[in-house]
Each structure stands twice: as structure tokens, then as C-alpha cells.
Symmetry: C2
Subunit: 254 residues, 2 copies
């Protein structure tokens, strides 16, 4: 019987302290590691284990490769930063399964969740995700920009806290500018905003501001952008950065 | 100098495999553990450590207690199931800080993120959170029901995948019925729905259905309800439960 399987592993935001025991165990037993170059390079080499590091934007090829190796009996760890279920490799693997054969659909696949960027950012900032929120990817590689506009408008209409993933990249600097222009027309200028870059890594950087004052160029591809609801607020602290949080209660609309 | 501090610790959905090393370390050094009875009881007793288990709905008293103990020099672990930053104790602690004194605002507070219920559910189901999503608590203990209605409408308008927390409790069985009635009027009956109960625990139970067929009474207080976007779909598998996932791409609106 074929013992091949696929473990879709969440590496979390970076530091070991946020890697679950389940994910550690999976990395130890895998015969093959597949993933985007920086995630694969982050992992130490292990005897008898083959690393397959590939470039960004080839997620579906990577998923197909994992299915093929699993069918050959390999134990394949497909690694993602953060949570593989949130804007990451799990959806790509299931797209490949959906498009694949009955044999692909019979493969043993397990998704191992991880701490996602918005959770690390929230923890570092205070408790901005303490109430209803939404998560939106600003990447328009795979969806039309008008879908993003529709969702930003709905997020403002629902007065959700908004976590923006993939706000900008070198080849795609514009989305965060357009998103902020739209949100500025829909939400109060005093709405708290946080740019949370590379949380938990040595190059971590946090900028706290408001929607009216925010400079979209602060965001890069390693940044999670958090935008408050009408209830989200700063707590000023003498001699320290303010906390940012969203209360659990919701007052009558101001 | 006062060495007291507060660690707001995410225990994840239950099993040890999802408890981060950071959270484990915090539980080992704490002098005091504060939390809702079932979460505190889940933890093994440690010499020199005092457990303070309290009932639900007293989150703000619990937070105040933690601040007082920290000011007396205690190292206090405030524990939450899942991620303390998502509909849990972190917001309650910062509410108490916000309402508190300058001394409260100076306390060393660290939030330790954890795997939240929607992530465990998503991992178990496939990849339903692979695209833009929102998380909404159906508890109307702390917010008016019309805010929940506004958010459900916005979530449907934005065609987000929806993760519903706190869908029902013994004293509050109605919200999930009202939410489904509203969503049925706004979304296609064939929209995939999953009831994911107690994921990772011995009493785990999953029900896969559609919005048109869903029985709201399937949800209890341990259930995370996942409702698809127009793109979310099942992958049928011979002899096994189907996978549920949301592709990363978004096709032109049907």
C-alpha cells in the first residue's frame, strides 16, 4: 500500500516560539520539503530529506509536484509562512486536487494550521482583532481589482476591523494607495491604522497612525496592515508606544 | 522594581500539538493562572502556582484581578481557548487597562497568540479560508443584534467566506437561526456550509451541508460555523468525506 501523503505545514510568522509541535513533528518526518525559497531556506537541513525550493507565483506547479511525489510514496511537507489555510498553499493544493485524477483525490492530505500574520500583529499591538473583523488580500494577481473594491466597501459598510494581506510588492506598488484612497472616502480620518512589518523577526517594524495621516508607502510585501473599526482605539501610555485594541462591546452608533 | 507582568496566553483549540512553545513556556513560569473554568482545568497543576478559575461572563473582573496581581509582583497567565486576540481575553484585559490608572497602563503585558477555532476548522475541512473572509461573533451579550445584522449583510454583499463564532448557547439558542434566515435571503442556497464542532478534541464532530439544507440546531457553543463565498466548493472523494475549499482566484461574477 502506498504510504505517501501530503502535510501542508504552517511555519508561522518566523520565530520558533510560534511553531506548533505538530508542525515541528511534520518537518522531522517528511522525506521532501516543498515551498517558496525563503520558507524552505529557513529550515535546517536533515539527512535523507530533499528540499525543493521554488520561486513565488508557481504555487500550482508546486502543488502538482507534491501530489506526484505523494503518489510515489513520499511524505511531502508543503510549507507556508503563517497559516497555510490563510492566503497560502492549502488552497493551491486543493485546486490541484480538484483539477486532478481520482488518484489525486484519494491522497492522504493533512493541513497543519499555524499562527497567521494578522495574529502576530494583533498580539504585538494589543487586541485590535477583539471584535468582528475581515481579512482581505490586496493581491490582484488572481482576482480582478473590482472584487477587491467591492470587498473593501463591504468591510467599511459592516464597520469591520480590516486586516490587509499582500498590501504591496516591488512589481505591484499601487494597491495599497488605491485601497487607502477608497477607505479614506468611507471611514473617519481618525480611524486607527497600524503597519506591522515582519512581526517576530529581526527586521520587525511597527508604525501606528490614523487613516487620515497614513502614508501607504510604509507598506511592503512583509507588512500586515490593520485598520480599525469605529470602536478601535489607542490607549496612550507614559513613555511607551500606545496599545491598540477593539473593545468586545459595541456602543450605539455615533 | 516590580517584576509583575501579565501574559495573555492562547491555549489553541485543545490538543497539545497546537499549543505553541511560547504558550507552554508561559504556563511554566506563571505564578498565577486566571481564566474560564474549563480552560484552567485543562492545565496540569504545578507546584507554587495558584489557579483562579472563574465562570463565564466575568471577563472584566478577571482582567481587573490580573492587573491587581501583576501590580503586586505576580507573573499572571490569563488563559483563553484559541487565540486570546480573537473574541477572547486580550480585549477584556485592554478594556480594563483603558479604564484603569497610570499604574495599570505601565504594567508589562504580552499577548501570546494561539490557533483560533476557525483555523483548526479550516485545516480539518480543507482550505475554506483560502480567500478573503470575515469572522463574526453571533453573541449579542455585548453588542446590539442590529450590528450583527449589519455585518452579516455586509459579509454577504462582499461575498466573503464567513466564520461564525459563538453561534448559540443554552441560554441563547436563537442567533444562529436568525443568522441563517438572513443569509438564506442574501446568498445562493447551494452555498457550502460546515458545522465544525470541538475540532481536535475527543468530541469533534463535522457536518457538511449547504445554506439551503442547513439545520441551525446543529450548532452549539463549541461549534464554529463556516459559510462559503460564491467560489467555495466541495471536492467529492470516493469513499471519503468531501474536501471544502475556496480557490485563490476569483472568476468573473456568475
Amino acid at each position: 500500500m502506498n504510504k505517501g501523503k501530503i502535510l501542508i505545514v504552517g511555519l508561522g510568522p518566523g520565530p520558533e516560539k510560534w511553531l506548533t509541535p505538530e508542525a515541528s513533528a511534520a518537518l522531522a518526518i517528511a522525506t521532501d520539503i516543498i515551498g517558496y525559497i525563503p520558507y524552505v531556506e529557513r529550515l535546517s537541513d536533515r539527512q535523507g530529506q530533499t528540499k525543493h525550493a521554488t520561486d513565488n507565483r508557481v504555487e500550482i506547479d508546486r502543488a502538482r509536484h507534491a501530489l506526484d511525489l505523494a503518489q510515489q510514496g513520499h511524505v511531502v511537507a508543503v510549507v507556508s509562512g503563517g497559516d497555510p489555510g490563510v492566503f497560502a498553499m492549502a488552497a493551491a493544493v486543493f485546486e490541484a486536487v480538484d483539477a486532478g485524477s481520482d488518484a489525486d483525490k484519494a491522497i492522504d492530505i493533512q493541513v497543519l494550521p499555524g499562527i497567521s500574520a494578522m495574529q502576530a500583529a494583533a498580539a504585538r499591538l494589543g487586541a485590535p482583532l477583539g471584535h468582528d473583523f475581515c481579512a482581505i488580500s490586496l493581491s490582484d494577481n488572481l482576482k480582478p481589482w473590482d472584487v477587491i473594491v467591492r470587498r473593501l466597501k463591504a468591510a467599511a459598510e459592516g464597520d469591520f476591523v480590516i486586516a490587509l494581506y499582500n498590501p504591496a510588492s516591488k512589481t505591484r506598488p499601487q494597491p495599497i494607495y488605491d485601497a487607502f484612497a477608497l477607505l479614506c472616502s468611507l471611514k473617519t480620518p481618525s480611524t486607527p491604522v497600524a503597519f506591522a512589518r515582519a512581526i517576530g523577526r529581526p527586521d520587525e517594524r511597527i508604525v501606528l497612525t490614523t487613516l487620515g495621516e497614513a502614508d501607504p508607502s510604509t507598506a511592503d510585501m512583509s507588512t500586515l496592515v490593520m485598520i480599525g473599526s469605529s470602536e478601535t482605539r489607542f490607549i496612550e501610555r507614559p513613555g511607551q508606544e500606545p496599545w491598540l485594541y477593539t473593545p468586545r462591546h459595541y456602543r450605539v452608533q455615533r
